[in-house]
């Protein structure tokens, strides 16, 4: 039977405000599944033209699929969100690139013709599920030297990346981090972020943390507007003595959830759904686990090659800021300035936080807003590094661009 590959579009994306993991965090008494359920519900409320019965799949990512992040979250979150029983769901894990993988896996199925519309997202409650919870690495990794021990500790891999790029100093990383905070504060002041946030009710029963009872979270907790280089200079380098990676130039440990709607372009148009981005290509690449932060570079090479594009064609970048060094390595590789205006215009994970498997859709939601504002930009990309040595890149076309949909 003849097949036609179908265009896949990003219809809409939302997220919860991100919180700081731990007993003092805003979500300490909030379940992970409730976070993603509320994100899905907001998405459906915002898109009443989408008949929930027409959703073909709910793909939800989480790194630690235990407890309230277990039980095939894609299915259970669908039921809890009030989707019809006929809508199926599954769970995805590619650590930090979980939500991004949820998007590309379902997008592939849409392109193939198996689905018309899907929900893809992710959640990570690192307070309830600290990194490494329940892991049991095979002893062969170490005994056969398959990976260096540092590969399991993301902060150490970031120090290793600094080693690979000796010109990326702690000073440059801190400067980058300060700019991320500044850009995020500015994006907030201009209302760029709040429009895609889902308010979350939170309970606190511990008087030592703050006011008790029910409250409402409407903003990201981790942000530190006004951060200066001096503030960052004295921070400890916990992963290596005299190292470069600090809590100030890396994303924190966070709680949060994201969700997005993807659809075939035809379905979106027929159902009067917004078309915010068009998927061009995507790629995943493995690299040495000890320098996992290098991953976005070969992944982007691969995605560009598949799209027949070069890096010069990309005019907006949403790079996940797991560590400043990982963004800077990417920029250095491509000869892009550290403060290039096309990169992370609203700031990034250093300011907002990085609840592992949820972050991919945050990048997309922000890129979609930038596309809307900048119709002169035709292509953008979202990219991230992934634990155990991987990189992930998705290239998007701006449907608001005059040549969108045509030949390159």
């Amino acid at each position: 039977m003849p097949r036609t590959i179908r265009d896949v579009v990003f219809v809409d994306g939302v997220r919860t405000p991100f919180g700081k993991a731990g007993p003092k965090g805003i979500y300490h008494e909030t379940r992970a599944d409730d976070l993603v359920v509320k994100a899905i519900r907001e998405l459906l409320r915002r898109n009443p033209e989408l008949d929930p019965a027409k959703i073909d799949e709910v793909a939800i990512a989480a790194t630690t699929q235990i407890g309230d992040q277990g039980l095939t979250l894609g299915r259970t979150a669908g039921i809890l969100a009030g989707l019809p029983q006929s809508v199926p769901g599954y769970s995805i894990d590619r650590m930090c690139a979980g939500a991004l993988t949820a998007v590309t896996a379902t997008a592939g199925s849409i392109a193939f013709g198996a689905y018309d519309a899907v929900i893809a997202g992710g959640v990570e409650h690192m307070g309830r599920h600290p990194m490494g919870e329940g892991v049991d690495p095979n002893p062969r990794f170490v005994s056969e030297k398959l990976v260096d021990e540092s590969a399991l500790f993301m902060g150490m891999t970031a120090e290793n990346l600094h080693d690979r790029y000796p010109t990326i100093t702690k000073q440059r990383a801190d400067e980058y981090a300060v700019r991320s905070q500044e850009k995020a504060a500015k994006a907030y002041a201009n209302g760029k972020i709040q429009q895609d946030l889902v308010p979350i009710s939170v309970r606190n029963t511990n008087a030592e943390v703050g006011e008790t009872g029910w409250g409402l979270v409407t903003a990201d907790e981790p942000m530190r507007p006004g951060t200066t280089l001096d503030n960052l200079a004295g921070l400890k380098t916990p992963f290596r003595t005299h190292g470069r990676v600090t809590a100030g130039n890396a994303a924190g440990l966070n709680d949060g959830a994201t969700a997005s709607i993807l659809a075939s372009e035809d379905f979106a148009r027929e159902n009067n759904l917004p078309v915010k981005m068009r998927l061009v290509s995507y790629a995943y690449v493995g690299v040495e686990p000890e320098v996992m932060g290098y991953g976005p570079i070969p992944a982007t090479e691969k995605a560009l090659a598949k799209a027949g594009l070069s890096i010069e064609d990309i005019n907006l970048f949403e790079i996940n800021e797991a560590f400043a060094v990982q963004v800077l390595a990417f920029l250095e590789h491509y000869g892009i300035a550290d403060d290039d205006a096309r990169v992370n215009q609203y700031g990034g994970a250093i300011a907002y936080g990085h609840p592992l498997a949820s972050s991919g859709v945050r990048l997309m939601t922000q890129l979609a807003r930038q596309f809307e504002e900048q119709p002169e930009v035709r292509y953008g990309l979202t990219t991230m590094c992934v634990g155990f040595g991987m990189g992930a890149t998705v290239i998007w076309e701006n449907p608001h661009h005059k040549d969108a949909g045509g030949d390159k």
């Binding site: 907001e42 201009n190 309970r203 029963t205 006011e211 029910w214 409250g215 409402l216 409407t218």
Partner: protein, 718 residues
Amino acid sequence: MSTTTAELLKGAAELFPGEVVTSAHVRHLDLPAVPNSGSAAGAGKFALITLDNGFDHTKPTTFGPGSLANLDLAIDQVEKEAAEGTIVGVGITGKPFIFAVGADLKGVELLKNHDDALAIGKGGHEVFKRLSGLAVPTFAYYNGAAMGGGVEVGLHCSYRTVSKALPAFSLPEVFLGLVPGWGGCALLPNLIGAERAVSVIIENSLSQNRQLKGKQVFELGIADALFEGADFLEQSLIWTANVLKGDVKVERPEVDRGEAWDQAVAKGRVIADSKVHGAAPAAYRALDIIAAAKSGDLQAGFDAEDQALADLIMGGELRSGIYAFNLVQKRAKRPAGAPDKNLARPVTKVGVVGAGLMASQLALLFLRRLEVPVVLTDIDQARVDKGVGYVHAEIDKLLGKHRINQDKANRLKALVTGVLDKAEGFSDADFIIEAVFEEIGVKQQVFAEVEAVAPAHAILATNTSSLSITEMASKLKNPERVVGFHFFNPVAILPLLEIVRGEQTDDAALATAFAVARKLKKTAVLVKDAPAFVVNRILTRFMGEIQNVIDEGTPVEVAEKAVEPLGLPMSPLVLLELVGPAIGLHVSETLNRAFPDRFTVSENLAAVVKAGKRGFYVYDSGKPELDPEVAALLKQGDTVLTEEQTRDRVLDAVAQEIGLMLAEGVVAEAQDIDLCLITGAGWPFHLGGITPYLDREGVSQRVNGKPFLAQGLASVPA
């Protein structure tokens, strides 16, 4: 000099040291920006009060004096902030699954005098009504179960939202013997009109305390907005932001203050009459306040509520109501005298001897609740087929009403079978119940046949209403496994199950019987093997005395009217009609043989039965009127008693019988008698079954020289 609210509550709190105190947490939040409004600016700073007693949802939040004092303090704080302009609104909500379920009844039970009772009413009012006097709008978010004072605290707010997932919402005060006295009677009719308020306050309350669901709360107009449970609080707060910004206008229909108001109150009186027959004051007090609320003068309504609360708290009906509530809610769950439940044996298959109507109803009940194979036997195939057919038809009815789905219907139908051969049917049954003809020889024969084929461990249960369990078991090899298992008609509706211990019944058999009763969702009461057990013995003595009075010469209508003030679910002769005069006669004969000095067999009743009459009344005019054919049969003496004399005689007889039953050890305590009458005969809460009423009216003292219950158990404490 007037007492401050804080002083009032402090005094009340001292009377109630065991209160589970509810906290009123105040937390501040930024109301969300209104989505898609193009503006990132939120609607402002908001104070949200969370009512939380610190326990999970299994211990719902209540209001005692300490809790009210906490709410008072919280309101002090938000009142100041509202006046200073630092907040734009105040909300109130509950812990997960629970909003608040009203006044703490334990505290009410402890109140000893009118002044303290008045203080409780005033205390609630003084605190709650502050919510309507703040400088900013107030919002109640009914997130979960809301009852009584919980509902009322929300009524004092400017706006209300309700969760679609809210399972229970009610003003149950009248059901217990109170009035909604923290603003409910005055505010609700002014919010949703008298007709709807009467249905909530009177009709629901008097219909076994019927609960509203979230959607109905919205449809009745009590709440201004309805949101799904998944993100109820978020959506409520977004709605709040919209209301405060003026983007959402709350429109409520105009309340009809004309004739409709009076008609609603009149209808409420008809409902109250039909349920309590004037016998319990609470509904009428509530209706008086609703009637007066027509003027819209809320303070006058609140004052009337205070007085009504205080009067009712010091009156016997409320104490009886709370006593009855505790029996049904607590004692029923831990049956007095039941053996260790670990002794119970598993029941994986049930046998039913007989396939008549009663047996078929039992088969259906076991099938639905235990979901194990149930096998019916009878003496011929036609009867067996009819019994199985009945069960199948009832399953289809449940399917038709969507009470069960097709899969469940298939499963249940496959589980019920009928056979002629007891050996085939019962060889692997764990629990076999007989519902054959009420004749000791027949029952002994049936049990002998069953014992011959059933496993050695199987329980043999009998649904006899009057025969001796001990005698029935006496000819068996293993009499220790025989248990009385006496249901009440209609089996599907009346909760009571009298579990009768024969002289040789062992603990394992009894424990199994209680375990089965629990799965059947019945209220099990342990009863000694005594003639007619509990309910039938008391009802027969009661009806027998009425019959005696009639036989001696008192007109039927006088005798019937004499017991109306008790507020029983139906008059004695209507009950007799329901039971069937022939069965009534049979039971009276049985009891007459056991206790000839107290139980008589009425010649008039015998004549009515002999004439084949099904009852004393005809209903041609729509109302019960003495059937002329029955009237012609009656041979009456010439002793004519007044209503009062009749009532005294009947109550004396009942008090004497209960006294004797307790002396015989038929049940553990008087409380079990009351539990039986409430759950097996539908006797009203406000009587507390019957013994609180007999104590209160001095009948117990007159007949037995002492009350049945210790002071304070169902009365104002000493």
